[in-house]
């Protein structure tokens, strides 16, 4: 007897191999073969799992984390103030931005004095974890249930403000991604951004 058997398996998961002789039914293969036929035939008539993608979309969860959106406030001004917290929070360093100062005639475009003149997310780096959303103090960035479309060149995956900022006339509903804590925070009049 080998020493192994006395000690037993350290993981407790080892199995004793059975080398028993095959029975006659096992040796002629046929019963097992017909069993296999029955299984494959039953699958032949089963409902198929294929989703016909371009025509049919797999239903996403309400809180699916897909393509980002840069929100505007109720008056249509960009909420982002280019604080860089999302870029800091981003574990894959997908977000870059350049801050700029708001001019007098841009009061209706940007909510605060500072805004992001360039805001880029590299969709190939992004892992859609949603940490940017969590980090944002201005309720500016959210993930939506839109998937990032495929493209041919790596450079085409760097999305700028032209894609990310929501259009004024086509607002993106992100209410389902806002937790009750977030909503309470938004309504808190002590916070400057709600004043």
């Amino acid at each position: 007897m080998s020493a192994n058997q006395n000690i037993g398996s350290l993981s407790g998961r080892s199995k004793v191999v059975s080398n028993k002789k095959m029975t006659f039914a096992e040796r002629i293969y046929l019963p097992a073969i017909f069993g296999g036929f029955a299984i494959t035939l039953s699958h032949f008539f089963k409902k198929k799992v294929t989703v016909q993608y371009p025509e049919v979309n797999r239903p996403f969860s309400e809180i699916y984390r897909g393509l980002h959106v840069l929100k505007r406030d109720d008056e249509g001004r960009e909420r982002c103030t280019a604080c860089g917290l999302c870029a800091l929070a981003c574990p894959s360093e997908a977000i870059t931005m350049i801050a700029a100062e708001r001019k007098e005639n841009e009061m209706n475009l940007y909510r605060e004095e500072k805004y992001a003149s360039v805001f880029e997310i590299d969709m190939l780096r992004c892992i859609f974890c949603g940490l940017c959303e969590e980090a944002c103090p201005k309720e500016a960035i959210f993930l939506t249930n839109v998937t990032v479309p495929s493209d041919l060149h790596r450079s085409d995956f760097i999305y700028g403000k032209d894609v990310l900022v929501e259009p004024v006339d086509k607002r993106v509903d992100i209410s389902h991604r806002q937790t009750s804590e977030v909503l309470a925070f938004k309504k808190d009049k002590n916070q400057s951004h709600n004043s």
């Binding site: 073969i33 296999g36 036929f37 494959t40 699958h43 089963k46 409902k47 198929k48 799992v49 294929t50």
Partner: protein, 343 residues
């Protein structure tokens, strides 16, 4: 033998050639569909309705692929390989009775290109040459993997040919003829050979799988060990010929199984229908093709059900199980025939 007769045979041969090619073409689609359905998928369905143009697209793709020939390959044999495989795959269809006969204006037109009285022998002769296409292709590529694949294929096909022929001998003993048409005619109605030769049928169908290099005996092709087997160095339509010949072989094998064991164009209650001879022939041919279609499906069903054999298991099954069983089958058949004759 008048001109009319020759013209008729020419047309028949062309039609059968066409049917073989179209059936093989759509077998490739069916294969992918069956694979998909068995794996809970849909299979190709984008090219045309239900993927009906998929085989055309596949063929077109192969035509437009780069025609690459290794510099060290034997040019003549390299081209001969796939051509031979394709030709041999198509040759067998000449002796298969695709239907009974049409009687038009008192002349009988049989739906068989050549009713030679050694049809079974002819089939085996063609089958044996089938090895050459693969062997020549594998050798001419001047690639060790292709050569090993070809050797594997050759030894597998030769091994299983023996047991296959042995299982047919029992049928020949029973029917006392080598003509395929006579063998079919003896299986009138439901008097099919499979009821008398179940063991022979089992051996034959297993060997048919091995002869066609189909799963579970698809050892000549394996990506992990041989990078593709005997057609490693082939590309474009030459590769297409090899792959296509496999499907033609499958069609012909199914036709042979249906002919030898399942009554060919005979079907139950064919006498009680009170139909004319010509109408019966048409229905019989359709029944024959339904049988063939079932066996083609069966080939695919097996492929997507069973894991492949290991090479030593393959050889053991061929030499130590199927061949002895085939011989025993011959002995039993001979014994029964002897008892019957003396009663």
């Amino acid at each position: 033998m008048d001109g009319n007769y020759i013209l008729y045979k020419l047309i028949l041969a062309s039609v059968i050639l066409l049917i073989s090619l179209v059936v093989a073409m759509y077998s490739t689609l069916l294969e992918r569909k069956v694979a998909g359905f068995i794996q809970d998928r849909l299979g190709p369905n984008r090219a045309g309705i239900g993927g009906i143009f998929q085989p055309l697209a596949d063929g077109l793709k192969l035509f437009f692929k780069e025609e690459f020939m290794p510099g060290t390959a034997d040019k003549f044999l390299y081209i001969l390989g796939p051509s031979l495989t394709m030709m041999i795959a198509l040759l067998t269809s000449a002796v298969i009775p695709w239907g009974n006969s049409f009687i038009i204006n008192g002349t009988e037109y049989t739906l068989q290109v050549a009713d030679i009285n050694v049809g079974v022998l002819y089939v085996f002769a063609i089958l044996s040459i089938g090895v050459y296409g693969i062997m020549i292709g594998g050798w001419a590529s001047n690639n060790k993997y292709a050569l090993i694949g070809a050797i594997r294929a050759a030894s597998q096909m030769i091994s299983y040919e023996l047991a296959m022929s042995m299982s047919i001998i029992a049928i020949v003993m029973m029917s006392g003829t080598l003509s395929l048409k006579d063998i079919v005619d003896q299986q009138h109605g439901m008097n099919w050979n499979v009821w008398y030769q179940p063991l022979g049928f089992l051996i034959f169908i297993v060997c048919a799988f091995a002869e066609c290099n189909r799963s579970p005996f698809d050892l000549p092709e394996c990506e992990t060990e041989l990078i593709g087997g005997y057609h490693t160095e082939y590309s474009s339509m030459k590769l297409g010929f090899y792959l296509f010949a496999e499907y033609i072989n499958m069609f012909i094998s199914s036709a042979m199984i249906a002919t030898l064991f399942f009554g060919g164009y005979n079907f139950p209650f064919m006498d009680s229908l009170n139909l004319s001879h010509n109408a019966l022939t048409i229905i019989g041919s359709m029944v024959f093709f339904v049988k063939i279609a079932f066996f083609i499906f069966f080939f695919m069903w097996v492929r997507w059900t069973l894991p492949r054999f290991r090479y030593d298991q393959l050889m053991r099954l061929g030499w130590k199980s199927l061949l002895p069983f085939a011989i025993v089958n011959i002995l039993i058949t001979g014994f029964v025939i002897m008892i019957k004759n003396h009663m």
